[in-house]
């Protein structure tokens, strides 16, 4: 028996392709959720209302300190006992997005707090509204520097997608494993999946760098 057999590489390709599509889709959708929701969390945390901002801080802390898998199980398996049935795809991507939103919100927060307080004072002195101050003055300065930090979570989330297999979503690693089980032959499929994760991570980090470069230039920040 050969250590590496190209026959199995060809045979495994359709499986891996189907899995890769799911993995990439899940990553992109869940990360879009994480970006938007994370920003919302971060903005809520800046509220002057102690109650609101404290509750948000606790929520973020709670999400960050329980395992992702547990959160997915909770939504997918515990929900139906109370009559809340959520399809696996929605539950998986939703929880992934919310989980990473908690992490992203901390990155946003660091970016927001790094903006010079003088920018707020100038905005007040010019009588800009609060929403205008956020959208035109603070966020354009807060976000470009934190793109690499957000990008790390993008790649981190991508590598967490195999967890979706736990609620029967056929992402790539699960497909590779199924192929292996059907053929009593794992090495090609698992290796190919590994190569794909590597390539996707490299592409993703190149994209993150490009976005970071472009945003910093667009807003004339160093």
């Amino acid at each position: 028996m050969n250590i590496w057999d190209w026959y199995y590489v060809w045979e495994a390709l359709p499986y891996l392709y189907r899995g890769a599509v799911i993995t990439v889709q899940a990553t992109l959708i869940a990360f879009a959720i994480a970006l938007v929701l994370g920003l919302a969390f971060a903005l809520i945390r800046q509220s002057n209302n102690r109650l609101v901002n404290g509750a948000m801080a606790e929520t973020v802390e709670f999400i960050r300190s329980t395992p992702l898998l547990l959160q997915i199980f909770f939504v997918y398996f515990v929900g139906p006992q109370f009559g809340i049935v959520i399809p696996a795809w929605v539950a998986g991507i939703g929880v992934l997005g919310i989980h990473y939103a908690a992490y992203c919100s901390e990155v946003y927060r660091a970016g927001i707090e790094a903006v010079d307080g003088g920018q707020w004072e100038a905005s007040i002195a010019l009588n800009l509204s609060r929403s205008r101050t956020w959208s035109r003055i603070i966020l354009p300065q807060a976000i470009p520097p934190i793109v690499p930090g957000l990008g790390n979570y993008f790649i981190g989330m991508f590598k967490d997608t195999p967890i979706l297999a736990a609620i029967a979503i056929l992402e790539m690693l699960q497909q590779a494993k199924n192929f292996g089980a059907e053929n009593y032959r794992y090495i090609e499929a698992i290796t190919m999946a590994g190569a794909f994760y590597l390539v996707f991570s490299l592409i993703a980090s190149a994209i993150v760098q490009a976005v970071s470069f472009w945003l910093n230039r667009r807003y004339h920040l160093q």
Binding site: D116, Q119, E121, A125, L126, N127, L128, S129, I137, H220
Partner: protein, 258 residues
């Protein structure tokens, strides 16, 4: 005589146990140029920040053109001002900061246009015209498209002045606007302020360490000491024959250092 442009009435400001301003009373007339001098920590910056609504006051009332700024009338009672009230009254006041606080991601022109467009609702074209005129006036007509990072300190401060003026304030506040500048750049900024004072209807309140400028430019000088106005008067009187021993000590220390 009409009411003063700005009135501080028994204004007290505390930070924790520290009383920074103790029942301050100060009237500033329309178009009057007032300089504030005094030792570090005497509350000079705080006076300006309170008037710009950057700081809340603990006691007293600040009035602008006869209207309470820190408070509003509600069912016949004076209650602390709401955000809405602040936004309305604050429009009469503009401020220039020691460290410029320009928006680094916007050009000089965009810095000046932002508030007129988004607060006053001016059409873009009109705001651009107004901003360009102001930049011309401060001598930066050729720098409209420059970002703050591409400007010298003196140029940044002149953009900041133009930006504040674009909102057509009635009162302009200057907090040590030349302190962060290299000595050779101080003159260009002071020239702009001088020109503003002579050509525009503006009430001006400035904190400064430039005694020469304060003397030549102001109608009145206030010497702050220990949270109070220790002495005030026309610059000739205050600089040449001060009544207060503290004023004399402060002036001789400053003159020796400078």
């Amino acid at each position: 005589m009409s009411e003063p442009m700005v009135r501080f009435e028994n204004v007290t400001k505390r930070y924790g146990a520290l009383t920074v301003l103790d029942e301050l009373n100060l009237d500033i007339e329309r178009n009057e140029k007032v300089s504030i001098i005094g030792p570090s920590g005497s509350g000079k910056t705080t006076v300006l920040r309170m008037l710009m609504t950057l700081e809340k006051i603990n006691d007293g009332v600040i009035w602008v053109e006869g209207e309470p700024m820190t408070h509003e009338q509600k069912n016949g009672a004076m209650v602390p001002a709401s955000d809405r009230h602040l936004r309305r009254v604050r429009g009469k006041v503009g401020m220039v900061f020691q460290h410029f606080n320009l928006f680094p991601h916007m050009t000089a022109l965009q810095n000046c246009m932002e508030a007129p467009v988004s607060v006053l609702g001016l059409p873009k074209g009109e705001a651009e015209e107004r901003s360009a005129e102001l930049l011309d006036m401060v001598g930066l007509g050729d720098k409209k498209g420059h970002y703050p990072i591409q400007l010298s300190g003196g140029q940044k401060q002149r953009v900041a002045i133009a930006r504040a003026l674009a909102m057509r304030p009635k009162v302009m506040l200057f907090d040590e606007v030349t302190s962060a500048l290299d000595p050779e750049l101080v003159g260009e900024v002071l020239n702009v302020i001088r020109q503003l004072g002579s050509e525009h209807d503006l009430t001006m309140l400035m904190v400064t360490h430039q005694m020469g400028f304060a003397k030549e430019f102001s109608d009145r000088v206030c010497f702050f000491y220990g949270g109070k106005i220790a002495e005030q008067g026309p610059p000739d009187k205050l600089f040449n024959e001060p009544d207060n021993e503290r004023t004399r000590q402060f002036l001789s220390a400053v003159l020796e250092a400078g």
